[in-house]
Symmetry: C2
Subunit: 426 residues, 2 copies
Amino acid sequence: MLIHSTPQLITLSGGPQRGRDLGRLGLIENGAVLVQGETIIAVGTTNELRAAYPAEPTLDASGRTILPGFVDPHTHAIWAGDRAAEFELRLQGKTYLEILAAGGGIISTVRATRQASPEQLCAETRPRLARMFAHGTTTAEVKTGYGLETAAEIKMLEGILALDAEGPLELAPTFLGAHAIPPEFKGDPDGYTTLICNEMLPAVKTWWQTHAPDYPITCLPDTSLPFTDVFCETGAFTLAQSRRILETAKSLGFPLKIHADEFDNLGGASLAAELGAVSADHLVKTSAADIAALAAGDTIAVGLPCTPFGLADPQYTPAKAILEAGGLLALATDLNPGTAWNENMQFAIALACRYMKLTPAQAIAAATINAAAAIGRADRIGSIEPGKQADLLLLDVPDYRHLGYRFGGNLVHTVIKKGRVYPAKG
Amino acid sequence: MLIHSTPQLITLSGGPQRGRDLGRLGLIENGAVLVQGETIIAVGTTNELRAAYPAEPTLDASGRTILPGFVDPHTHAIWAGDRAAEFELRLQGKTYLEILAAGGGIISTVRATRQASPEQLCAETRPRLARMFAHGTTTAEVKTGYGLETAAEIKMLEGILALDAEGPLELAPTFLGAHAIPPEFKGDPDGYTTLICNEMLPAVKTWWQTHAPDYPITCLPDTSLPFTDVFCETGAFTLAQSRRILETAKSLGFPLKIHADEFDNLGGASLAAELGAVSADHLVKTSAADIAALAAGDTIAVGLPCTPFGLADPQYTPAKAILEAGGLLALATDLNPGTAWNENMQFAIALACRYMKLTPAQAIAAATINAAAAIGRADRIGSIEPGKQADLLLLDVPDYRHLGYRFGGNLVHTVIKKGRVYPAKG
């Protein structure tokens, strides 16, 4: 299939974009892409590719912008229940503790997720994944973390594998047993940390090695194990507890991620850099030393602008400082039922332009090639280059800068995933 | 048609909601609506209506929330061209004056709109109206104001009437010749004010009285004349100039609106109250005296949260102060190509909850019955009551509070406009 005559083909070629290099679009005017099977075969101008492949069936992209499918490298997309009532309580001025007392907060999602059957958990999650895909996300990381006990965490992992196998949205699984302290360990975070290290991580590894080969999962750095992630934050896991968990996970062979500096600066980003984590995420209250530590390595800084937006918090990830230090910046939605029920990477881009002061070109690179790097798959997805998986978007706009400029809607006309064409609009 | 078995039927019955009364949803559990032709015939529980109308064909709304179609009472939805390049310049740190010098700003939209043929102007506007409708807006006010000369302003008015006649989105037209000072009157705002009063307003009246009867326009307070609006702001029209224009318009029989206090407090809101304007819009820098003046009358305060959001400006309409003073508050998108290209009232609600501290119930009332009052048509639209026009939404959620709680997407499953069913999703 020859997709041709786009006024702007945004390739994002050349690998992840570091520091001030962020925003290199690799724009080809009047461009074309040749897709065969699941793979991109050739990229160039329409004239070049038409001459080289005269017999190829065509898809006319005149007037539309082509770019790689969005990669959403940080989501909590799988959960049961909702917290709409809690949202209203918060607006009525109830405090966090009053909401907890009324049965709200993360533990209410844990309760609903533990109670849900595997089928119900997938049934509630499936429409969210469909909306993500319709808004142009072709690959997403999805975390466990609403189980907080071995069996419920494994139920979530199995749900992620099953939903990934259904497609078309591809999923990268993360084990986030260290998302919060479960009710059974209230007042004993060290005890729960020990449980994670001594029981959950080994159990997840054994389960994964037994069951994952039954699934066609392809979007982890290697398919041996899912990511392990920790919420390193006051009220969740201290730096020392986070270190114990991540070091144990690393010794077992898990690739690593971390939630750091959403509300407090505990040093989680430097820990991530030290341990060679694939990404460090949130990074709102991050210190200059932490930013320097990230920039000195290959750990991707993942900004989650939907979360401060969801909380009406004025502080966002300091993107400029990260880029000036030479760091690698990506964007994600943080889709979750508490602070940010948003399935749309285009909205994360619109926020990043306004509140992280990225240009549209920078935000697009952060949402594609750098986001692919944040799940360790920049070799396979995130750009339009020969040999890569054919994951692309046709946007209903003549210029890439409509991303960011416009907000509140969906600019996607067509999603192409592994070479298959999905019209996004009815 | 009997639309039945919604867990939550949000009627908004009882007319516009003043002050602390805002947020009275008129919720009926397991509700049903009977629609015949273009009109709502009966509203009640599913049991009641099924018993009363056993032979009526049905539409099953199980698991979905029903509410009135959104009314968007402040948009600049008709224009030619776009300003995506200007958005990028702004993020690169260029000043407003540098952008003006580079051909940007409102005058670039005026240039493109003047040059566009009537057909091109409608062709560029039509997809915007379709997206508004798909996001649940069933009636919208649309302003002229990118012509700034008699013929181009009338071309815009004619476009609005033609697009309204096409449907399904119903449009309420507003003449906004006083949107900005056109290049021909640079340095002479008084001269342009005189032109508006002596030439444009009489010409618009004559044109309207000759041509409007050819169109089926129904959503003005009366069909005799469109609204007249003024941008009362530093750099646009002073309070004295705004008064001249609005008093002239009033003497000619136009219903009135005003843009006031977006950046500076000039007293426009009090002027609106004094002249009995239907609405005063923006109201960010509004003084306590202005808020009291609005609350003492029936002029609706229209908050436009997408505009500060678009500009990343931390200040929003002081909704709480307006409600505590006993004012009537509505919400609108302010859809325009400069500061807020957003077609989605759901996003205006999500912003109002976070940045104007409205509850979902308050924001929904402000976006329906009170928004209908802001275009003088609370008698006909904005609530689900027998005798009203059958404009309703089926949302893909079990609880109205998902509006506000969730953001970045579209929760509309089905739009019903004048009794006709339009599935919003493909």
